[in-house]
């Protein structure tokens, strides 16, 4: 029997469980949405770059059909007093005063064809492929993207690497040939940016774990990183944008205070499917993607897709926009458990613009409603623009 027929038969034989009527589903769904936001419970980042426009969305509450009927408030963000601004041509990035900035990036020119560290993925897992059941001394790594400099770093390294002195990468792309726990025949380039040379190529191993294979869009690489390499490595990946030059890097200085949202005073409920409409990468925990718009008409169309019945914000002339969204989330008293980083990666300028971090930490300043971000930039940068996404790090 052909695959097409078997799929057809499966479709005809599977029946949903009794689900009640539409109204019951709606009520149940609203509860789930609320529960999901509670579980998400994170903060959101708000730091402005020049020509960054925040669109603040007042809460629409729980009404139905249509849910969203408020007039959006557009806020042109002013750079908070005391913040540091990095400029290069028409691009400027502002970061909090207690952040460390390196400019230029130690005069480091990436090797030809080097790619931005890119699609690293926040994850925590046990390397069962590496060493069977030796959980007690297994490597456990949290690997996350550093939007500022494209460096993947490992934290929480608790044991020896699967192979001595080696960085072992796994891919969660589902397209690599091979069997679980065996080299898949695909390689990624690993470069040590501290030593400024290529370490070599490493095999990409395959996992067939569906939890990871579900991210088959190339958005993530999970890595075991040997302790001596955690000072910073470049990760090359076919899907990552090519580095042209690094404008600067900025990162929180040790002991830097978490930021609160300073520029957004109100917001409203964004449609839950905004994540889909804005493009993958717009949601929390998801690196890569987002949506790049090249003119006002596109933004108008997106605005309509999002269900806003009012007029889209007006982009400054000769700009493009990157659109992403995050939850500014959490329950009162609970959102300080997380901090989030929103990053925007720009190839043309060579800069990774960091729009965060944000850790509210104060009751009453948290919200469980999503916020849409529109970042504008000169049109010549369109090709290299991407919303890096948000990163949530559990502080506890």
């Amino acid at each position: 029997m052909d695959v097409r027929e078997r799929i057809g038969n499966l479709m005809s034989e599977v029946r949903p469980l009794p689900g009640g009527d539409a109204e019951a589903t709606f009520r149940r769904g609203r509860r789930r949405v609320r529960r999901r936001r509670i579980l998400a419970a994170g903060g959101s980042a708000v730091v402005a770059a020049v020509a960054v426009v925040w669109v603040a969305l007042p809460d629409a509450g729980g009404s139905r059909l249509p849910l969203i009927d408020d007039t959006p408030e557009t806020i042109d963000v002013e750079i908070p007093n005391g913040w540091q601004t990095i400029t290069a041509g028409e691009i400027a990035v502002s970061v909090p005063p207690d952040w460390e900035i390196s400019q230029p990036y130690e005069s480091f020119e990436p090797p030809e064809g080097a790619r931005l560290g890119g699609p690293c993925h926040t994850d925590l897992y046990q390397p069962k492929e590496a060493d069977g059941d030796r959980e007690s001394d297994a490597s456990v790594a949290v690997v996350y993207d550093r939007p500022t400099d494209g460096v993947c770093r490992a934290a929480g390294f608790t044991g020896p690497p699967p192979r001595p002195g080696l960085v072992l990468f796994e891919t969660i792309r589902g397209t690599v040939d091979g069997v679980e726990g065996q080299p898949g025949g695909e390689r990624v380039d690993i470069e040590d940016h501290a030593r400024r040379d290529r370490i070599g190529q490493l095999e990409v191993w395959r996992t067939v774990d569906d939890e990871r294979a579900s991210s088959d869009d190339g958005s993530g690489i999970i890595a075991y990183i040997a302790a001596e390499l955690t000072g910073g490595i470049w990760v090359s990946h076919p899907d990552a944008p090519i580095i042209e030059r690094i404008l600067a890097t900025a990162r929180p200085a040790p002991g830097a205070q978490p930021r609160t949202i300073e520029a957004v005073t109100s917001h409203r409920d964004l449609p839950d499917d905004a994540w889909e409409l804005l493009g993958e990468g717009a949601s929390d925990h998801y690196l890569g993607g987002g949506r790049v718009l090249t003119d006002q008409a596109e933004l108008d169309r997106l605005w309509a897709e999002l269900g806003f019945e009012d007029q889209a914000p007006t982009l400054p002339e000769q700009t493009i926009a990157i659109v992403g969204a995050t939850y500014a989330g959490g329950l009162p008293g609970g959102c300080h458990e997380h901090r989030e980083v929103v990053g925007v990666r720009m190839r043309g300028s060579g800069a990774n613009i960091l729009l965060g971090p944000f850790a509210p930490g104060q009751q009453g300043q948290c919200s469980d409603t999503p916020i849409i971000h529109i970042v504008t930039a000169p049109p010549e940068l369109a090709e290299g623009l991407a919303v890096v996404g948000t990163e949530t790090v559990d502080d506890q």
């Binding site: 695959v3 589903t25 949405v33 456990v140 869009d217 449609p271």
Partner: protein, 160 residues
């Protein structure tokens, strides 16, 4: 209200049609149930827009898959070790468990292409529009997926 009556009709038809597609795509009946409800809830919230779409059921399918994928990703933040026995117990209720399992070995995007094409009956162009890819990508993806499934002896030895 006309809007609400229209949605109720859409809900009944869409749930019957899209739920099996989500089961086949996600491989987990319970997750599929959650995702169809999530997607239909979102459709209800934005019914005035969704009703005007060319392929509203396809939109519901896409939203359901994206929601489930995002949910799984959040769960993956926890260190977990899956139990194949437990998974099997959930999947055994399906009429063609082996097919669902084989589909789960495909990349998600290829699974979506197969299900949209052969499960929900969308054309190549419609599938491409729903997934936001080129028609050629759909053709090649479906071809590769079918090739992989054909190469699997379990497909050949499957049900007659």
């Amino acid at each position: 209200m006309e809007d609400e009556q229209g949605f109720a009709e859409f809900y009944r038809a869409c749930r019957l049609r899209v739920y099996p597609a989500l089961v086949a795509t996600l491989g987990e009946p319970r997750l599929a149930e959650e995702s169809i409800d999530e997607a239909l809830t979102r459709a209800a919230e934005r019914w005035s827009q969704v009703r005007t779409l060319d392929r509203p059921a396809g939109w519901v399918y896409r939203v359901g898959v994206n929601w489930a994928t995002s949910w799984r990703r959040k769960l993956s933040l926890r260190p977990t070790r899956r139990s194949e026995d437990l998974d099997r117990a959930h999947l055994d209720v399906l009429p063609d468990f082996d097919l669902v399992r084989l589909l789960s070995d495909l990349p998600l995007r290829q699974r979506q292409m197969l299900i949209l094409r052969f499960g929900l009956g969308y054309s190549v162009e419609e599938t491409a529009a729903l997934l936001g890819v080129a028609a050629g990508t759909v053709k090649s993806g479906v071809h590769r997926a079918r090739q992989q499934l054909r190469d699997d002896p379990e497909v050949l030895d499957g049900r007659p």
